[in-house]
Symmetry: C2
């Protein structure tokens, strides 16, 4: 494999190309160039970045990793499989078998200990089904969509932007394409992702794009919302959706959570639950699916105080950061401590830094290889509609860098949206040290109700929330034209002078309403699980067929195997006793008394990552007190110890109260059956 | 309250009425009376049973229980609340707050230890979304429905049978109603629940039934499926449903699970997950909801061997049983050991008995009061479409007896359904001790394919699965008429002599296919949680306002409170130290340093059922080593002990390694702040 220096030499020219384009984008923005020019330049920047990443990937492949061998193992040992396979399966849906389900439960349990218990988070469980107005308010109904076209004959749906781009790429491949047309297409390609629905349709018509699968014509593009729709209740009146994220359940309950926390900021809510996205084309196994488990944290804090009181506990954690300006200028990632990153302004706040540190600790404890973990900051144009800053914890896999955890600054976006939609008061109250004086605009009316009936309440609410500038503007309008026009819920309303009166005065206030800011770490457990599996897939030296998983004990689906050396009846009582004592310690175990050499059965337990194995052999029966062997998976070393203490020793090892190194010093290394096989 | 003897005296005449009608039903069945007569008699039997139950409930109300006081507590301390309440809420959807969510997580965690870990069950996690053919095969598409009518003006839906019955009841209330009409209505009421769609519609028209809410006319009744429908994928081609139970995910994966279990029977699969039912009218809080968490076990066993190898471990468990013949004959429940119940044939198999015993142990450990727990066997006419026997673990609450766990014998129903729909082989292979001789009917054809094209495969499959009798019948038909008519997937097909040839021979076989039988314990965690809350709701003697929850430590949402006696800065370091050490032991805790007397704060912790509380006071600061008090919730007793051992003592108490009684003997009872308040 190429050395780091050799790799950097090969990457240097590509980094330069990225940097040049990054500078160009900055210049355009600074000179306030037309939006279309900027978006074209940004698209070109993205292309160059992709080129750089592909090259990096090619020069730096994961260590001798054979994906199909891993996939065979995962299928055979039922980590997960496509759902409903006897019915032909449904793309994007997977079932976790006993091994995958246990591993996932371990991830969730450790997440609860690491985040919820450790920080006294308020864990809740809200509904997966939600009525339409919730997602109207959150912006998902209008913005959580892809544009698709339909094959006019088969009805098959295709992503419109992907289709157009692939078509243009094909055109460019034609060497006879003339200069002007070529340039036009090159220009168009740079902005495919930012075309409007109308523009996409026009271009698809103009270039006579067909379905690449069937050669049939395609329909006009249409927006396709990625939420699953259903109807709640029998009358068919209430449109509902399956949630695409769990967070809204925490935002709509903000007031109750604040009350539970005795009115104090900051606090964190947390939730583990299913989310659902109707992907147009699910792919890459567990990485892009239609139903998945999220773990989300909403950390609500005072917008003027973005410190975190436990910051010091992560200050020295080393992380690999890929800030947005490095991406724009083609610079590589930086490895630095959380403290330095915050001090140098790479990470924007101590609070954001704290969570990145905690995320890093969690992932590496769960078995993510730190070499293949980085935090990449979103570029300004790739953030979700609710975010002002976002860092993704990305794990490197054979599919490339995969976003496993997103850590977004949602500011006050969501709470404000729900306040606007419902009029509920979702804010904290802050008692000021010194009272302040504010201008109160008190609007009175008897006639608004009569004139506007159902809308009257909203109108008066609108006026009572006016800021001073607007209030003064309205004063002037009323004086000048005897009426004002307001725009409430997209309705234009005219309010005349005689309907409304304002009383304005100064008031000393001691308490102010605060809409908290929100940092949201959001964990995709399916992606984390898959990345852990790739990072821990191993082949025993000298035996290519013997694959195994080096899963850390807290994550391993089963903690200990219990194996009779061979199928002798006299081993049975020991096997039963050991299995039942392990259970008393809460240690899951698997008895494998099937035929097959002990070596072969060790290999089977290694395949599902069982870290420890107790074997009952002839010496167990003849020794007094009975003894057994205990084997560690990674080293394949064995010790011999008394049967009655073996379960406790395994329990201590699994719970991290002792290490294997300490254990082999205490007992003796044993030349076991495996080496004799 | 009335004594048990007095109560039985009052119930005796009602029991007699039930018995008489039960005998009548049996006679009708034995004499093979017309179906309509039987169903009328059964409906009357149900009515009499209901009357008996209502009387029992009236004579035996739960001990001084005030539901609205409990509901206030649950809302205030955010155990659960209606979802999306700031949007006006959606009936049948609830969000669990920090207390309810923690309690529910505890129930799930204990369930995993009690069932999955203890019995090496294969826990899986399958999709909530499923394509239509799965539920077509399982019978849910055709049979999981209610009949509803619509208010023709408002569109509101109403259960058709409930509507008709309520209308008839009102008519009967009219004293002027004449003899013949009265008798006709009485007869009709006995069979309302068993009316067909057509008959329901006719009766609603005949009696001119209107909506009781608006007085408007109602539509013809229509079937309303209780599954939520959606569309999977963008093309709109794939109809999908949210699962109404988690079990199908285990049945469709049977083959992979069997393979994981190395081909051996018996074994149990288990799953915890969400299920969804679009109830027409959700009600009674958590008891009838649209989204809920189930824990389901499918115990797959050889149909000829319904023993359970751990039966002895539950043989002496005492349970209260309400067998179907007791219900039919008006006899009361029986309290007996699982062993006696199986020996006397009250419970049909050791395997069913085993699970009833385990369920009882789990529920009582979780805080269900054994006095208010019974196992009621389903009557023949109330079982789900898949069951051949079923026992419900019912908990008595202020809503009456509530089904919290169903334990159904699903026999081989589901596996056979999926085999029929997909042709997959969902069976185990049994190696026979002695080979047996079987008749093989081998059908050959070259012309079926040509004649029937797409259906040919199904036809040949049909023939290859023929039993001997049918095969011989077809032989005769072919001889007599040169053709046979078969009915495959509701298509009538004619197959002529020249299309098909049979080769019949005897064969010795050593291995047979076995479709396992299934016992399914199915736990509704929302209902269990609510019943636990009712059974553990208490009021402190002498203070009606002071309600508290006597939740067992494993279930309590928070295990320990940490309280400073008052708001002194010098208490802070001790509070922090104690909280962080408790966490190291995995003990969730809640610091309450809000203003308010210590007594008031104890009361707050009692309200959410925190079993232990550590208090830091002036002696903590002055004593060397520092000491604290430890308070137990149920007795309100306190001990004084060294601060550094307090977390370990609490951890041992919570984990059941010691008892409070042992603890107060070891340390000294302390006359604490609470009694001085």
């Amino acid at each position: 494999m190429a050395s780091e220096i050799e790799i950097e030499q090969q990457l240097a020219p590509l980094r330069l190309l990225v940097k040049e384009q990054g500078d160009r984008v900055r210049e355009l923005k600074e000179s306030q160039a037309p939006k279309a020019d900027i978006s074209r330049a940004v698209a070109e920047l993205k292309r160059r970045k992709k080129q750089l990443e592909d090259k990096e990937k090619a020069l730096n492949p994961p260590d001798e990793f054979n994906r199909s061998q891993l996939e065979t193992l995962l299928k055979q040992r039922f980590f997960y499989r496509p759902s409903f396979s006897i019915y032909g399966g449904i793309a994007g849906l997977y079932d976790f078998g006993p091994t995958g389900c246990a591993m996932k439960n371990n991830l969730l349990q450790e997440w609860r200990l690491h985040f919820v218990l450790e920080e006294d988070m308020l864990e809740i469980e809200s509904s997966s089904l939600a009525p339409e107005p919730v997602f109207k308010a959150s912006g998902h109904l209008d913005r959580f969509l892809d544009y698709v076209v339909k094959d006019v004959k088969t009805g098959e749906c295709l992503r419109a932007d992907h289709l157009l781009d692939a078509h243009l790429e094909k055109l460019l491949a034609d060497k006879n394409l003339e200069g002007d047309s070529r340039q036009e297409i090159i220009n168009l390609r740079t902005k495919v992702e930012s075309l409007s629905l109308q523009e996409l349709g026009d271009q698809i018509k103009k270039f006579e794009v067909k379905s690449p699968v069937t050669g049939n014509n395609v329909s006009d593009p249409m927006p396709f919302n990625l939420m699953f729709r259903t109807e709640i209740g029998p009358s068919g009146g209430v449109s509902g959706y399956l949630r695409p994220e769990t967070s809204q359940g925490m935002f709509v309950n903000f007031d109750y959570l604040l009350e539970y926390n005795q009115g104090k900021l900051p606090f964190a809510a947390a939730q583990i639950g299913s989310a659902f996205r109707n992907e147009v084309s699910p792919r890459s196994g567990l990485l892009r699916v239609r139903e998945f488990t999220l773990g989300e944290i909403e950390y609500f804090y005072h917008p003027n105080d973005n410190d975190h009181f436990k910051f010091d506990s992560v200050a020295d954690v080393e992380v690999t950061l890929f800030p947005k300006d490095h991406q724009v200028s083609g610079k590589p990632t930086r490895k630095m401590s959380i403290k330095n990153a915050v001090d140098e302004g790479v990470i924007g706040s101590r609070c954001m830094g704290y969570f990145l540190g905690r995320i890093s600790l969690y992932l590496t404890k769960m078995g993510i290889d730190p070499k293949y973990l980085r935090f990449r900051q979103h570029m300004d144009n790739e953030m979700a509609h609710y975010a002002t800053d976002c860092w993704d914890a990305e794990c490197k896999t054979s599919y490339g860098w995969v976003e496993c955890v997103g850590c977004a600054n949602r500011s006050c976006y969501d709470l404000k949206c729900h306040v606007k939609a419902t009029g509920a008061s979702l804010c904290a109250r802050e008692t000021l040290k010194e009272p302040i004086s504010v201008t109160i605009n008190e609007y009175h009316s008897s006639k608004v109700g009569k004139a506007f009936k159902g809308d009257a309440k909203k109108i008066m609410q609108y006026f009572s929330n006016l800021d001073n500038d607007t209030a003064e503007k309205y004063d002037k309008m009323l004086k000048d034209t005897s009426q004002i026009e307001v725009d409430i819920d997209s309705k234009k309303l005219t309010i005349s002078e005689d309907m409304i009166a304002v009383k304005r005065y100064e008031k000393e206030i001691h308490v102010v309403d605060i809409t908290p800011s929100v940092i949201e770490p959001s964990f995709g457990f399916g992606r984390i699980l898959y990345s852990i599996l790739e990072h821990n897939f191993r082949i025993r030296e000298g035996d290519e067929q013997r694959s195994w998983l080096s899963l850390p004990p807290p994550v391993a689906p089963v903690k200990c195997s219990v194996l009779p050396l061979s199928a002798k009846k006299e081993f049975d009582p020991y096997i039963k006793q050991l299995a039942s004592e392990l259970k008393l310690h809460g240690i899951s175990n698997k008895v494998d008394d099937s035929a097959g050499s002990i070596g072969r059965r060790y290999a089977r337990t290694d395949q599902i990552g069982i870290p420890y194995g107790i074997t009952v052999d002839f010496d167990t029966v003849t020794n007094n007190p009975a003894t057994v062997t205990l084997r560690e998976r990674n080293t394949m070393q064995q010790i011999r110890l008394n049967a009655d203490i073996a379960p406790k020793v395994v329990s201590d090892l699994v719970k991290g109260l002792t290490t294997w190194k300490e254990t082999i010093t205490k007992y003796h290394l044993f030349e076991g059956q495996e080496s004799k096989k």
